[in-house]
């Protein structure tokens, strides 16, 4: 690395410049391209479970409406706001590097992003899932089919399987993302990023925004499209 830095300095190039690229711009474009190929794979990864959700929603429409009505819209909406805010702070972390701000500014925005992510996960696990457990809504952990659900009741656990797998996979992506952001925050603290080189920041940003997009679809699909407008709660 030291040789590379000396070589780059000799040729008037940035320290982080890799010699196989024409220039810094090509290096940046190649990185973004590679990250989007990974995200295209992630679209298909979540697409599988979204596709299954659509099919089973068509087959067991009433059971899915009953299940959706048992979720707390308030938690879902607050978490949507928290996660979108974390996307804004992530975008600001990259912006502060692009604008040539000091590493400390980048670190501040990254830590804000992590904080908002932790708030999201706390709400999800400690409040929502805990409530679901006490209300016997977790399949395999004492799920109770209520008489009020009628004939569709037997399929309500199916909705909750989708609910826990979809929100669980989404939360897993955040749990993976948070330590990555922290590692990159350490790099930012050491002033590794500036207006020319900020690739790791940009990459983790793309990942975090992708996780945000998944939630943007999970929120309406799980919480909202359950006949909320019916006074009796769609039952």
């Amino acid at each position: 690395m030291a040789d590379m830095a000396a070589h780059n300095a000799h040729h008037g190039q940035h320290d982080a410049f890799q010699h196989q690229f024409e220039d810094m711009e090509q290096q940046r474009d190649a990185g973004t391209f590679g990250m989007w190929v990974f995200l295209a794979q992630e679209i298909m990864f979540f697409g599988g479970i979204f596709g299954a959700y659509i099919v089973y929603r068509v087959l067991f429409h009433d059971a899915f409406e009953i299940g959706s009505n048992l979720l707390n819209v308030r938690f879902g909406a607050i978490n949507t706001i928290v996660l979108i805010a974390s996307s804004l702070t992530m975008a600001m972390a990259i912006h502060s590097a692009q604008a040539g701000k000091k590493g400390k500014t980048q670190v501040m925005y990254l830590l804000l992003t992590v904080l908002l992510g932790v708030i999201f996960l706390t709400l999800k696990f400690s409040f929502e899932w805990r409530t679901d457990y006490h209300e016997h809504l977790i399949p395999g952990f004492g799920f109770v089919i209520r008489n009020a659900w009628g004939g569709a009741g037997i399929h309500v656990p199916l909705f909750f399987c989708f609910y826990f797998f979809m929100t669980g996979l989404h939360a897993l992506h955040m749990i993976i993302g948070i330590p990555i952001i922290l590692v990159i925050a350490v790099m930012a603290w050491r002033n590794r990023f500036d207006e020319v080189y900020y690739a790791p920041l940009e990459m983790v940003g793309l990942y975090w925004h992708f996780v945000d997009i998944v939630w943007i679809f999970l929120f309406p699909l799980l919480y909202l499209v359950g006949g909320r407008y019916l006074s009796n709660g769609g039952q």
């Binding site: 909406a77 949507t80 979108i84 996307s87 975008a91 600001m92 692009q98 679809f217 407008y229």
Partner: protein, 111 residues
């Protein structure tokens, strides 16, 4: 030399638009639009996704190659959903045996 820098004002405006759309989609869910509740919720989600992809993820300012990968990703997702539904939603279009035991006996009885 550095990539396109999106102004802070744009980020804040996109964030505010996302907040308004979150409020809108939540509010609309409590109004009876008959068959249109689900399409409305999905349409708002797609608009929110586009805002995040184009501005937060800088795709609006990215090279064509990146844009192509993004479009390809969502194109293959639409294929997955479209062909799965084309199967699932049309299964009752052709006649079939009342139950599988009857179908089996019909198939095997001549032997």
């Amino acid at each position: 030399m550095s990539g396109h820098v999106v102004p802070v004002k744009t980020y804040v405006l996109v964030f505010l638009a996302l907040m308004v759309l979150t409020g809108l989609t939540t509010g609309v869910a409590f109004i009876d639009l008959h068959a249109w509740n689900t399409p409305a919720a999905l349409a708002i989600a797609v608009v929110k996704m586009l805002l995040v992809v184009l501005f937060f993820m800088h795709v609006k300012y990215s090279p064509k190659l990146t844009k192509m990968v993004v479009v390809a990703g969502f194109f293959f997702l639409s294929l997955l959903v479209a062909f799965t539904l084309a199967d699932e939603l049309t299964r009752n279009w052709s006649p079939r045996a009342l139950d599988w035991s009857t179908a089996a006996s019909v198939t095997h009885s001549p032997r």
